[in-house]
């Protein structure tokens, strides 16, 4: 029961933030709405026992990426842009997307919970009692054993991104 209430609350936060993100005129307002939306998603993570991802979502997305966005928005002067036309001519494409998504939702709503049938063995019942995969130690174990190579590659990707953005943004190295 409590889960359902919280789900509605966070879902509302997420969707409200998302709608405002794509409709607000001012880029700063858009960014703040996106932050609201991200907080909603973080809450949904928490609802699904993904505490580590909840923390990472807040530290990395809100504290890192969104801060970077705000920083850049404040560096570039967008006063002129706010007075101009906000939406491009590709409205038919957007319409197609909306229709597609609407069809998908209609499908889910008609089929209800039966829309997804997993094979009986898919869920591993042994670990179900603990916080289902949410606890940090299990995630760390998987990350540093099974997923070690992707992890190292991700670190390399980040290094490349850091060097690349410094080179792009700096006039003289």
């Amino acid at each position: 029961m409590l889960d359902t209430i919280f789900f509605y609350l966070f879902a509302l936060l997420t969707l409200l933030g998302a709608v405002l993100t794509i409709t607000r005129r001012s880029a700063v307002h858009s960014a703040i709405s996106l932050i609201v939306s991200l907080v909603g998603v973080a809450g949904l993570f928490l609802l699904q026992r993904a505490e580590f991802l909840f923390a990472v979502q807040i530290v990395l997305y809100i504290g890192g990426i969104m801060l970077l966005f705000l920083f850049v928005i404040m560096l570039v002067n967008l006063d002129r842009a706010e007075r101009e036309r906000q939406f491009s001519k590709a409205w038919w494409l957007a319409l197609a997307c909306v229709v597609g998504v609407g069809a998908e939702i209609a499908y889910f709503l008609t089929k209800g919970p039966a829309a997804f049938q997993f094979p009986p063995g898919a869920a591993s019942p042994g670990v179900a009692s603990a916080a289902a995969g949410g606890n940090v130690e299990r995630l760390a174990d998987a990350l540093f054993s099974e997923y070690l190579l992707p992890f190292e590659m991700a670190s390399l990707l980040l290094l490349v991104a850091v060097v690349g953005s410094v080179i792009l943004a700096k006039k003289r190295i």
Binding site: D3, F7, T21, A31, V76, E84, C97, S124, L139, A154
Partner: protein, 103 residues
């Protein structure tokens, strides 16, 4: 352990979020807002990853989400650097005006 909130709800939410992201991506003219729409889409995907992971009681979905976040961070760093460079050279952030590569 059956979840109080069924999986399909999360997936519907994720689909709506993704749709909003796509709409913003094709609709808006400001590069920064377009970028934010991409973040919305990534979050929609993350949400369904975690939802499936919770349903199947496995950590794999969490790890995918973690990697998506890492990639998003890298993408934001490079993308925003590009935006800054574009703004420095053009003094505008309108997508339609930055179209030199169009014939």
């Amino acid at each position: 352990m059956t979840t109080a909130v069924p999986l399909s709800w999360y997936l519907i939410l994720s689909a709506i979020l993704f749709g909003l992201g796509v709409a913003g991506f094709v609709f808006r003219r400001n590069i920064i807002t377009v970028f934010m729409s991409i973040e919305l889409m990534l979050n929609a995907v993350n949400l369904s990853f975690v939802a499936f992971s919770y349903q199947l009681r496995q950590t794999d979905g969490h790890i995918y989400t973690f990697f998506v976040m890492v990639v998003a961070a890298a993408e934001a760093a490079v993308g925003l650097a590009i935006i800054l460079t574009v703004f420095k050279n053009r003094a505008t952030l309108e997508i339609d005006e930055v179209s030199d590569l169009k014939n």
